[in-house]
Amino acid sequence: MNSPLRTRRAEWLVTAPSFLWLALFFAVPAVIVLAFTFHGHDISGGVGEWSLSTWRELVDPDYPTIIWNTIRISVEVTIWSIVLAVPCAYAIARMNSRWRAIVAGSIMLPFWTSFVVRVFAWKTMLHPDGWLQACYNFLSLSGEHSTILDSETAVVLVSVYSFLPFAIMPIYTAAEKFDFSLLEAARDLGAKNFYAFRKIFLPGIRQGLVSAVLMVFIPAIGSYVIPQMLGGTNCVLIGNKIFMRAIQNRNIPHASALATVMAVSVLIPIGLSMWWKKRQDMRDRQRLEAQTARLFTAGEGAAK
């Protein structure tokens, strides 16, 4: 096109605001964090000389336990969220459009209350003298009356509570596009309900499942507020440790190193999901090409 907006200079002009802003306040800080991990720290709270001491210290104290706990809890939270989200999304997608809008809306409605306030409400509810603790005591017949508050259970429970809508929404979006007559077709061909659900529905919404997993796993790994308010000293995750090291102990290199570990543990599943999607796309394309080729040869055969 001849329009002046398509020239190189115009491109720079339109790109510059976001590009420069994010370069300055996202890319540059990331590089700084990475650089700090290769420094030692000095006692005054500053950054010391170039050294590998930070990485060496990271292996030694309680860090590996914390990292492992964070990943384990995040996986637990993700599994719970997906297991609950799939039937919810399925149920919403099968409703008529009016109910769909209402229910999908009411799933997002809790978000109009401040996240911190909601976590605080949980804290109030989980109070050792509260009714939830009483129910819990009643249900745990073993007689071991541990408190929920300040435990891993509380962190998992409230994390699932907080991230569940993020799991339901992408699965629901995928399920909404799913052609439910396929399930009927499968049943028509003799498949049992659950078999059809597993073999037709779940693969049909796989894209939604992948984004749901990421939507839960990423904030769970980076979780800070929930363990801070509900985990007490029994459930300290990487996020809390980063905050502690950065703000309280002023050990900037350690905080940076922990942040780097966190970034890596987020990038790995994302990388995997991208690789998986690419592979799926390639397979689909190959299958399509093979089919087209077969069609063509069949067509030629018929013509002769």
Partner: protein, 368 residues
């Protein structure tokens, strides 16, 4: 060259390895309804987009009223486009859509109102003026798109497959309407289509385009009756081809000997000589199919071939016959009024006679 209204002068446009338009030159008269007709991907839309200013030719120039407009931006040329999907501004009312170019031209408010109201009246959309595009039907959107492009009286109106999105009935209606609008406004129309029916019924002249070049530029009747190439003959309507060598000439007529078919007599308008190879095109509607042999005629003796009916396709207005004659499968059309005149209806596997007058065949290509 510059005294002509609109001129494409050796225009070439490439997209990567693909040459969309290959050294095309032609000119359009003022007030003409000019069509670019061709299969999809032939380069007709690229030609139109270069005239609109949305693409720049790699070489060659485009002149409008003697002025070189090749390098002008779309907003700098008095050429407006009616887009295939109408491209109406969804956030504006019909009235505002039409007033768009007038407001840009900073006309006085009163003049804008007069012009918009007048054109709304012309397209009979006055009562819809304050609706939004998504409240209109396809045909109405189409009329608004045309009105929007016409209201400031451009030098040329470009129409890019404007009827493609409409259903058959509406398309036929809009064809008549387009014709009326063209007569009323007297602006040059440049019409791109792949539908030969549209091009035939509207155009003063048609450029048949194939693979980036113009195959033939003529009036509709000439293009149909005297196609310049095998491509034109087969793209515009149905036809039967007989490829062969001229074995004899006598006056204005000659005899062609195709491979796998008896000799055919044809009108030799190109004055070809014995030994030359030709493609003879005979349109299906010019071929008669009868159970009885044709009556003997005077003058040049007609072509008659005993044959067998293979397939019959009823098409409402016509019935189409596929007839096996020697090694050929010939298509012939028969209107039903004549069908009634036949003593016996023709049916599958009947032994029939196909026949046509030598004047009804047309030699399209002389291969050396």
């Amino acid at each position: 060259m510059s005294n002509e209204f609109l001129v494409f002068d050796h225009v070439t446009k490439r997209f990567g390895a693909l040459t969309a338009v290959n050294d095309v030159s032609f000119s359009v008269n003022k007030g003409e309804f000019f069509s670019l007709l061709g299969p999809s991907g032939c380069g007709k839309t690229t030609l139109l987009r270069m005239l609109g200013g949305f693409e720049k030719p790699d070489s060659g120039r485009i002149f409008l009223e003697g002025k070189d407009i090749t390098d002008l931006a779309p907003n700098e040329r008095r050429v407006h486009t009616v887009f295939q999907n109408y491209a109406l501004f969804p956030t504006m009312t019909i009235w505002d859509n039409i007033a768009f170019s007038l407001r840009l031209a900073k006309l006085p408010k009163k003049e804008i109102e007069e012009k918009v109201d007048a054109i709304l009246d012309m397209i009979q959309m006055s009562e819809h003026a304050w609706k939004y595009p998504n409240q209109l039907s396809g045909g109405q959107k189409q009329r608004v798109a045309i009105a929007r492009a016409l209201v400031d009286r451009p030098k040329v109106l470009l129409l890019d497959e404007p009827l493609a999105a409409l259903d058959l009935k509406l398309r036929q209606h809009m064809l008549l309407e387009l014709d009326t609008i063209h007569d009323q406004v007297g602006i040059t129309f440049m019409y791109v289509t792949h539908d030969q029916g549209e091009a035939m019924s509207l155009s003063d002249r048609i450029a048949v385009i194939n693979r980036g070049t113009i195959e033939q530029l003529d009036g509709p009747a000439k293009i149909y009756e005297a196609p310049s190439s095998r491509f034109v003959a087969s793209f515009i309507g149905d036809t039967n081809f007989f490829s062969g060598e001229i074995v004899a000439t006598e006056g204005d007529y000659c005899t062609i000997r195709p491979v796998g078919f008896p000799d055919i007599r044809a009108y030799n308008d190109k004055q070809l000589k014995v030994g030359q190879k030709v493609d003879l095109s005979v349109r299906p509607e010019k071929i008669r199919v009868t159970l009885a042999p044709p009556p003997p005629e005077k003058g040049a003796s007609i072509n008659v071939y005993p044959s067998t009916v293979q397939d019959i396709v009823y098409q409402g207005v016509y019935t189409k016959y596929w007839i096996k004659s020697s090694d050929f499968r010939i298509a012939a059309l028969k209107p039903h009024s004549r069908f009634l005149l036949d003593q016996e209806p023709i049916t599958w596997n009947d032994e029939v006679f196909v026949w046509w007058h030598p004047d009804d065949g047309y030699m399209v290509e002389a291969k050396q």
